[in-house]
C-alpha cells in the first residue's frame, strides 16, 4: 500500500438531512482514502449519496438542515471539525471543487480572469496584478489557447468545454491537495469529455493532486481512475481497483451497472436495466441489504444487516459474493 500519508482520508462519514418527516439518512458508513496524485472514482446512480458525500467533505451542506458525522482528514486536518470561519480559509486552498454545470458555476457578469484572480486573492496576499498574472498562467496550464486575451472574456463568450477548463483552473489555482470533481463532464459532449478527463489526469499527476471523481458513468471511471467506490443508497457497496471492478465485480449492483452500459455488437437485443424502481429512497429502506429488492441473486441471508466485508485488496458489501459468478465488462467465454 502507500507509504506516505494519503491526501484525503474519509472515515465513517454519515450525512443526514432534517426534513419535516424527521431526520433522513443520505450517507452511511462511508470510508475511503485518496493518495497524492491518485484519482478515485465515486460511482452510483442518482440519489446514491455521491454528491452528498462530496458536499459534506467540502463543508458545503446547509448547516441548519443537515447533520454530518465522521471525519475527513485533508493534510492531517479534519475538515468536519472546523468552524465555518476556519473552513472558509481552507476551502479553495487545501481542497477545491469542480461542479457539474460549468454554465452556471461562473458568474456571468465578470471576466473569467477576474474570477480566478478573486480566488487567488481569497487565500494569498498578492497584488491585483500578480493575481491576474497567475490567472493567465493557470488558464494556459488548463489548455486555453491565447490565455492572456481569453482571461478578459466573459463566461458567455466561451464554449462549454472552455468553461469547464476555467472551472478547473479556478479550483486548482491555489494548488489544493484534494480536488473533488462532481460529475465534471456530464454536461459536455463526448469528445470534450475525453479532453477534460485527460486534463484532470495530467494535472493530478503533475501537481500530485488527489482527485475524487464523482460520476455515474463507468466509462469515465474506466478511463480515468485507479480505484473505484460504488455507492448504492448511501452506502459503499464495493471498493476495489477499477480493473477488478470491471472484469470481476463482486457485488451484484456493480455487475448490474456494468450490464447497463449499452455496447456495440449486440444486435436487436433490448437494453439492460436494473429491475424495479430504485428502492433506495431513504424512508423505505429494507433493514438488510439495501439492494435486496432489486437484486437478481437475493436470498434469505440477505435480509440481515450487511457489513462491508474486507477482502484484502478490495471490499464488498454482500454476504453472497463468493457464491456468485457475476458478469463483468468482458463476457465469460463458456468452456
Amino acid at each position: 500500500m502507500m507509504a506516505e500519508r494519503p491526501a484525503l482520508v474519509v472515515r465513517n462519514l454519515e450525512v443526514s438531512f432534517l426534513t419535516v418527516d424527521g431526520e433522513v439518512q443520505a450517507v452511511r458508513d462511508v470510508s475511503f482514502e485518496v493518495g497524492r496524485g491518485e484519482i478515485v472514482g465515486l460511482v452510483g446512480e442518482s440519489g446514491s449519496g455521491k454528491s452528498a458525500t462530496a458536499l459534506a467533505i467540502m463543508g458545503l451542506l446547509p448547516v441548519v438542515s443537515s447533520r454530518v458525522r465522521g471525519s475527513a482528514m485533508v493534510s492531517g486536518v479534519d475538515m468536519l471539525a472546523l468552524s465555518p470561519r476556519q473552513l472558509a480559509r481552507v476551502r479553495g486552498r487545501d481542497m477545491g471543487m469542480i461542479f457539474q454545470e460549468p454554465m452556471s458555476a461562473l458568474d456571468p457578469l465578470f471576466r473569467i480572469g477576474d474570477q480566478i484572480a478573486e480566488t487567488v486573492r481569497a487565500h494569498q496576499r498578492v497584488s491585483r496584478r500578480a493575481a491576474a498574472a497567475r490567472a493567465v498562467e493557470i488558464l494556459g496550464e488548463v489548455g486555453i489557447p491565447d490565455a492572456a486575451s481569453r482571461s478578459r472574456a466573459y463566461p458567455h463568450q466561451l464554449s462549454g468545454g472552455m468553461r469547464q477548463r476555467v472551472m478547473i483552473a479556478m479550483a486548482l489555482v491555489s494548488e489544493p491537495a484534494v480536488l473533488i470533481a462532481d460529475e465534471p463532464t456530464t454536461a459536455l459532449d463526448v469528445t470534450v469529455q475525453a479532453q477534460i478527463l485527460g486534463l484532470l489526469r495530467r494535472l493530478s499527476r503533475d501537481h500530485g493532486t488527489a482527485v475524487v471523481l464523482i460520476t455515474h458513468d463507468l466509462g469515465v471511471v474506466a478511463e480515468t481512475c485507479s480505484r473505484i467506490h460504488v455507492m448504492y443508497s448511501g452506502e459503499i457497496v464495493e471498493a476495489c481497483g477499477v480493473d477488478e471492478a470491471l472484469l470481476a465485480p463482486e457485488h451484484p449492483y456493480t455487475s448490474a451497472l456494468i450490464q447497463c452500459i449499452p455496447r456495440a455488437g449486440r444486435h436487436r437485443q433490448p437494453l439492460h436495466s436494473i429491475p424495479r424502481r430504485r428502492g433506495s429512497s431513504p424512508d423505505v429502506r429494507p433493514s438488510g441489504c439495501r439492494f435486496l429488492p432489486r437484486c437478481a441473486h437475493a436470498a434469505e441471508i440477505c435480509k440481515a444487516p450487511q457489513p462491508l466485508l474486507d477482502l484484502g485488496d478490495r471490499a464488498v458489501r454482500c454476504v453472497r459474493h463468493d457464491q456468485l459468478a457475476l458478469p463483468g465488462a468482458v463476457e465469460r467465454v463458456p468452456q
Binding site: 472558509a88 479553495g92 454545470e101 458555476a105 456571468p108 457578469l109 478573486e118 481569497a122 479556478m170
Partner: protein, 304 residues
C-alpha cells in the same frame, strides 16, 4: 467596464428608448436651465390672469397672472427632483431590506417580510398622505413619504432575486473556493440580483412623478407659491370654466413624463432579459429584410 458603451448602444438601438431618452434629456436640461429659459419668475404676478397664448407669455398666464411657461419649467424641476428623491429613498430602503431578508433567511426574513406585507396592504396614496400628515407637508416630506410607500415592493423584488441568485452555481462555487461571504454578497449576489430592481426603479420614476402630482394636487406636496405639475394642475382645475385650456400644460407634462419613464423601463427590460431581447432582435431582423423562405411549397413563415 464598458458600461458607458453598453448604455449608449442600448439607447441608440431602439427607436422607442431613443425617443423617450431624448425627451427626458430635454426636460432635464430645461429644468436645470430653468432660470435661463423661463424668462419670468415662476412666482411673480406680472400680467393679467388668463392672458392666453402670446409672444410675451408662450403658454399664457394662470389665475394670478403668473407666466405658465415659467411655472412649467420650474415645475419640471420640482417634479423630476421629487421623482429621483422618492425612488432613491425607495431603493435605499428596499434594497438593503430585501438583501438582508433574502440572504439571511429564517426569522430575520420572516420579520422583515411581515413588515413589508403590512406596508403593502395599504393603498399607496393613502399611506403617503398618512406619512405626510405625520412628517408635515412640503416637497421633501412628501417625497420621503412616497419613497417609503415604494420601498416595500423594491424589498420584495430584491428578496426574490437574492433567493434565486443565492442558489446559483457561481455562488456555491465562490463558497467552495473560500471567498468570504461579505465578498460573495457584494461581488456576486448584488450585481446579479439588481437588474430587475433597476428596471422597476425606472418604472417607479414615472409613478413617483404621478405621486408627487397627486400629493401636490391635494396640497401636501409643493407649497404655495412654488410651482410643480400637481400644484399647477390644481389651480388650473379650479378655473376650468374661465380658462378651459389651463389644465393642458401641466396635464400633458405629467402624462408625457410618465410615458417616457415607462417606455424607458420597457425598453430596459427588453434589453436586459435575454428571452425577450432575442425575440425582439429576431423580429427586428425579420422586419429589415424578408427572411428567405425555407419551405419550397410556399408555406408562409409569418406566424408571429
Amino acid at each position: 467596464m464598458s458600461g458607458g458603451g453598453v448604455l449608449r448602444n442600448w439607447l441608440l438601438s431602439d427607436g422607442r428608448s431613443r425617443l423617450a431618452a431624448s425627451f427626458l434629456l430635454a426636460v432635464a436640461i430645461l429644468a436645470i436651465a430653468a432660470p435661463l429659459v423661463a424668462r419670468y419668475s415662476p412666482t411673480a404676478q406680472n400680467a393679467m390672469p388668463f392672458t392666453g397664448i402670446s409672444w410675451d407669455h408662450w403658454l399664457g398666464t394662470d389665475d394670478l397672472g403668473r407666466d405658465v411657461w415659467a411655472r412649467l419649467v420650474y415645475g419640471a424641476r420640482a417634479s423630476l427632483l421629487a421623482a429621483f428623491i422618492a425612488v432613491g429613498i425607495a431603493v435605499g430602503i428596499g434594497v438593503p431590506i430585501g438583501l438582508v431578508a433574502g440572504f439571511r433567511g429564517g426569522w430575520v426574513d420572516a420579520v422583515l417580510m411581515r413588515i413589508v406585507d403590512t406596508f403593502l396592504s395599504f393603498p399607496g396614496i393613502i399611506l403617503a398622505i398618512a406619512i405626510t400628515a405625520v412628517l408635515g407637508s412640503g416637497l421633501m416630506n412628501a417625497m420621503v413619504a412616497v419613497g417609503i410607500v415604494f420601498s416595500p415592493s423594491i424589498a420584495r423584488l430584491m428578496r426574490g432575486q437574492v433567493l434565486v441568485t443565492r442558489e446559483r452555481g457561481y455562488v456555491e462555487a465562490a463558497v467552495s473556493f473560500g471567498s468570504p461571504s461579505w465578498w460573495i454578497v457584494v461581488r456576486h449576489i448584488v450585481p446579479n440580483a439588481i437588474q430587475p430592481v433597476v428596471i422597476q426603479a425606472t418604472f417607479m420614476l414615472g409613478l413617483a412623478v404621478l405621486a408627487e402630482a397627486s400629493l401636490s394636487f391635494v396640497g401636501l406636496g409643493v407649497q404655495y407659491p412654488n410651482p410643480s405639475f400637481g400644484v399647477m394642475l390644481r389651480s388650473a382645475a379650479q378655473f376650468t370654466s374661465l380658462n378651459p385650456g389651463g389644465v393642458y400644460p401641466p396635464g400633458l407634462a405629467i402624462a408625457l413624463l410618465v410615458l417616457a419613464f415607462n417606455a424607458l423601463g420597457d425598453s430596459l427590460r427588453d434589453v436586459l432579459s435575454p428571452a425577450t431581447s432575442t425575440r425582439r432582435r429576431i423580429g427586428r431582423r425579420a422586419n429589415r429584410r424578408p427572411a428567405p423562405n425555407p419551405e419550397p411549397n410556399g408555406a408562409s413563415p409569418r406566424d408571429n
